[in-house]
């Protein structure tokens, strides 16, 4: 039943058609949301009483970290489904999600480093959260490179899926690192179960920037998926 539904909706033709139509819509939505987010986060939101204006870095650092974790979790989940349902399209989806996930991890690390200098007085510390985020970046790089390991597509697909599944162990480590170890990072200010401790004047730009970043990752996913699909179809043309 589930397999039939997946086969029906993960049909390459349907996805290519929807992707191509959606790309322009997502691109314009991203530009609009990002513009609003930038104005809100750089000019309209208040400065922090302790961190002053350096707190504005939060509006790029936190959404980037959230989305990078979300994307890797999705890749790991899809990779598990690859073994369960043997649907090769899920590999294509995972592979297309990875580039934006890698970029967001890099953004989280670099902006975190920039934020660290005025806040902690250092660009880098081997703190549990920062180190586990660096491991995530390495995992993204290995995951993307794994598709080039072998000419045997099935073999490289299996290897990449295994990397994603084992790499998922790092996700709870990143999330709970601030609770398990004594780190420079503060515990989470926003959780799904409790009321946010961030004032709405800062929460609104944070949400808008998160939406903009999510739209960007969707845009890159749509473009990358179509690129990979055309690549496969190009090979198919030669085999006709």
């Amino acid at each position: 039943m589930l397999y039939n539904i997946m086969f029906k909706y993960f049909n390459p033709y349907k996805i290519f058609k929807i992707n191509s139509t959606l790309q322009k819509f997502v691109f314009f939505s991203f530009i609009i949301v990002l513009s609003i987010g930038l104005v809100e986060s750089l000019f309209l939101s208040p400065e922090d009483y302790l961190q002053k204006d350096s707190v504005r870095i939060m509006y790029v650092h936190v959404p980037a970290a959230w989305i990078s974790l979300g994307i890797f979790s999705t890749i790991a989940l899809l990779s598990t489904s690859v073994f369960l349902y043997k649907n090769k399209n899920l590999i294509l989806v995972s592979k297309s999600l990875a580039p934006s996930g890698m970029l967001f991890t890099l953004i989280a690390l670099v902006t975190g480093s920039i934020w660290g200098k005025p806040t902690w007085g250092t660009w880098w510390a081997w703190d549990a959260r920062i180190t586990s985020m660096l491991i995530l970046l390495i995992l993204y790089i290995i995951y993307l490179l794994s598709f080039r390991i072998s000419d045997d597509k099935d073999k490289s697909n299996k290897i990449s899926a295994i990397i994603a599944i084992f790499g998922a162990i790092n996700i709870p480590i990143i999330k709970f690192s601030v609770d398990w170890w004594s780190t420079l990072h503060q515990p989470a200010s926003i959780t799904l179960t409790e009321k946010s401790t961030i004032h709405s004047s800062m929460l609104v730009p944070l949400i808008i920037m998160t939406a903009a970043f999510a739209l960007f990752s969707i845009l890159i996913f749509l473009m990358k998926y179509n690129t990979e699909l055309i690549k496969i179809k190009n090979k198919g043309l030669k085999r006709l």
Partner: protein, 76 residues
């Protein structure tokens, strides 16, 4: 007023560089992926035009091929 926005009480260099890095990262990835997409579309268009008559007939009836050709700017 404008200098206050730029300097941000001495934190401007940190804030602007963090935002600049993010936006440069976005633009770079977008252009790389867009370039790859255009390259693959161009390659597809070329391979399709070089197909033999019989193979062309088979390929043109496949929905995905038709859709890709449509987006590569080819007249089917």
């Amino acid at each position: 007023m404008i200098s206050d926005l730029i300097l941000m009480n001495g934190y401007g260099i940190y804030v602007w560089s963090a935002f600049a890095f993010t936006l440069i990262g976005f633009s770079s990835l977008y252009f790389i992926i867009n370039l790859q997409l255009k390259k693959e579309l161009k390659r597809f268009k070329k391979n399709f035009s070089e197909l033999e008559k019989e193979k062309y007939k088979v390929a043109i009836n496949q929905e995905t091929y038709k859709e890709i050709l449509k987006h590569s700017g080819s007249k089917i």
